[in-house]
C-alpha cells in the first residue's frame, strides 16, 4: 500500500481525535452542534477513504449513512430541539474546560499506550485506526460525564459511535459493518427522539435527591 494512502488515512483519523478535542473545548451549544457535524464529516471521509484503499465498496454505504444521518440530519434536528425547547446556549460543565482537556490528553496517551503494543502484529493502518478510535471513544465518554447538558451528552455518545465506526472500518474486511452502523443509527435516532419526546430540557440526570426518592418508591 503506498505511503500516501497511509498518510491520508492517518491524517483523517488524527483529525477525528482533534475534532473530539474541539468538542471538549466547546462551551456554546450551537458551536458544539456544528462541531459535531464536522466530526461526522471527518468520519465519513475517513470511512470513504478506507473503502477506497481497502477496495471495499460496501463501506461507502457506511460513509454515506454517516454523512447523511450524522453530519446533516441530526445536527439540524438538534438545532431545532435547541430552539423549540429553549435550551440554554451555554453548556454547564462539571469541571473546568482546562481540566477536561488535560484529562483528555491523558486518555489519548493511555489509549496509545494500550493499543500500540497490542496491535503490533495487525498492520500499521489498523494500528493507527484502533489507537485513534479508542481515544475518540474515551474522549466521548469523558464528554458525557463532564457535561451536565442533555444535548451535549447525546453528542458525546454520538462521537463515541463515530469512533467505533472508525475502528470497524479499520478492521480490515470485517463483515456486517454496514448492518452495525445501521443499528447504531437507529439507536442514536431513538436517543434524539427521546430527548425531544420527553422534553428533557437541561439535564436527564436529576440532581434533586428528593425527586429521586419520590421517583423510586423508596420513601420508608
Amino acid at each position: 500500500m503506498d505511503p500516501l494512502a497511509l498518510d491520508v488515512a492517518h491524517l483523517l483519523a488524527g483529525g477525528l481525535v482533534l475534532v473530539s478535542f474541539m468538542l471538549l473545548y466547546q462551551d456554546r451549544m450551537t458551536g458544539l452542534v456544528n462541531n459535531f457535524a464536522l466530526h461526522a464529516l471527518v468520519v465519513s471521509l475517513s470511512v470513504a477513504w478506507q473503502a477506497h484503499i481497502q477496495h471495499a465498496p460496501h463501506l461507502y454505504i457506511t460513509a454515506a449513512i454517516a454523512l447523511i444521518v450524522k453530519a446533516i440530519v441530526i445536527p439540524l434536528a438538534l438545532h431545532r430541539i435547541i430552539l423549540q425547547l429553549g435550551i440554554h446556549r451555554t453548556i454547564e460543565t462539571v469541571v473546568g474546560i482546562g481540566q477536561t482537556m488535560l484529562a483528555g490528553i491523558g486518555l489519548v496517551a493511555l489509549s496509545i499506550m494500550v493499543m500500540l503494543p497490542i496491535t503490533a502484529r495487525a498492520g500499521t493502518l489498523t494500528q493507527q485506526d484502533l489507537a485513534f478510535a479508542l481515544s475518540v471513544l474515551l474522549l466521548g465518554l469523558l464528554m458525557m460525564i463532564s457535561r451536565r447538558n442533555a444535548v451535549s451528552q447525546v453528542i458525546g455518545f454520538m462521537s463515541i459511535e463515530n469512533g467505533l465506526i472508525l475502528a470497524a472500518t479499520g478492521a480490515k474486511g470485517m463483515p456486517l459493518v454496514v448492518e452495525i452502523s445501521v443499528a447504531f443509527s437507529i439507536l442514536i435516532a431513538l436517543i434524539v427522539i427521546g430527548v425531544f419526546l420527553f422534553r428533557i430540557r437541561e439535564r436527564f440526570d436529576t440532581v434533586d435527591i428528593h425527586a429521586l426518592h419520590e421517583y423510586r418508591g423508596e420513601q420508608p
Partner: protein, 482 residues
Amino acid sequence: MTEAGSFFVDAVLVIPALSAALLAVLPDDRLTARLNVLAALLTFLAATVLFFERPAPGHYLIVDDLNVVFIVLSTFVGFTTSVFSGSYIAHELETGRLTPVYLRFYHAMYQTLMFGMNLALLSNNVGLMWVAIELATLTTVLMVGIYRTPAALEAAWKYFLLGSVGIALALFGTILVYLAAHSVVGEGLDAMAWNVLVRRAPEFDPALLNLAFLFLLLGYGTKVGLVPLHAWLPDAHAEGPTPISAVLSGLLLNVALFAVLRFKSVMAANPGAFAPGPLMVSLGLLSVVFASFMLYRRHDIKRMFGYSSIEHMGIVTFAFGMGGPLANFAGLLHMTLHSLTKSAIFYCVGHIAQVKGTQHMPDIRGLTVSHPALGWGLVFGVAAIAGLPPMGLFMTEFLIVTTTFARHPLLAIVLGLALLVAFGALLLRLNGLAFGDPRGGRAPARASFVPVVAHFALVLVAGIWLPPALTAWFQHVAGLLR
C-alpha cells in the same frame, strides 16, 4: 436429521418475528393476548425439538451444548411469562394503566424481544449476536418506559444510556476479537463464527484477546448488571410492567452473561491470554457483597428482587471466575435455576402488587392469611432464591462455596457471609410480607398460577434429581470453560 433441525431453528426465530409484525397491526386486545401466548408456545415447542435434532452449525446460526439448554429455557420462560402477562395485562387494562394502543405496542415489543434473545442465543456470529442483544435492549427500554410515569421515564432513560454505552464498549471488543481472528482465520464471516473462533483460538494474538475481553466484560457486564455497572437494573425492574421485570431478570441478564461465557470459552482456549478468572471473581464478589447490603434499605418489592438478581448474577460470575469443572457446572446450573425461580417470584410479586394496589412493602402484610396461594408462593420463592433445600439453588451454592473454600478460603468466607447477609434481608422482608396480621387489599387474586407452579415444580425437581442429559451437556461446557 440436520435439515429438520435447521428448520426448527428457523422456526424459533421466524415465529416471534412474524407474530411481532402481526401483533403490531391487530386491534383487539383479548385476541392479541391469546395470540401472544400461542406464538410463545409454538416457539417453545419448536425449541424443545432442538434437544433431539441439532443442525450443523451455519455461518449465522448454531446449536451446541452451551446454548441448547438456554434457548429452550428462554423460550419456556417466554411462554410462561406470556401466560402470566395475559392475566396481568387484563388487570392493567381494567385499572386503565394501559390503553389498548399501548397494549398492541406491548405485545409487538414482547415478541420482538423474544426474537432478539433467541437470535442472540442461536447466533454463530459475534457481530450478529451484538446486533441481537442491542435489539433486545432497545425493546426492553421501550417497555420499561411504557407506563410513562416520571419514575418509569427516568428508569427507561437510565437504562437506555447506560445500556447504550455498554453496547458501544461491547462493539469495540467485538471488533478487537475480529482483528485477533482475521489474521489467523482470514477475512470474512469465518473470523466471527463461534465454532471457528473456539477451534482456532490457540493461535490468536493473546494481547488482542485480553483487551477485547476487557471491553466485552465491561460492555456485556453492563447488561448483566455487575457492580459498578448495575445502576440501571433495579429501577428498570421496579418501574416497568412486571412481565418485563420477569423477562429481564429471567432471560436478558442470562443472555448477556451467555455472551460473556462465549468469549470466556475463547479466552480459555488460548494459552497465552490472561486468565479472566480474577477479573470475574472480583466483579462477581463485589456485586454479591454490594447487592446483599443494598437489600436492607429497600421498600419497593420489585426493586428489592432486582437487587437480588444482581446478587445472583454476581454469584454466577464468581463461579465462572473460579473455574474448574465443579464451579463452572454450578454456575451454569445456577443461571438456569435462577431464571426459573426469579421469574416465578416476579409472577407472584406482580399479582401481589395488583391485589394490594402497591409495591411499597411496609403496606403489605400477612399475605399467607389474606392470599394463601400468593403468600406461600412468595415464601417458597424466597426460600428457593436463598438457596434452601429442597430447592435446586442449594446444590449450586453448595458446590460453589465448598469448592471455593478448598482453594481460596478467604473468598469463600466472604461469599458465604455475603449470602448470609442477603438472606437476612430477604427473610426480614418476607416476615413482614407473608406473616402477621393482614394489611392492604383483600380482593381475591384473579391469576393463573400455572406458570408459578410449573417453575417451582421444575426448581424443586432440579434440587432433587437432575436429568443425565442436562448434566452431560453442562459438564461438557464446564470442561470447555476451564
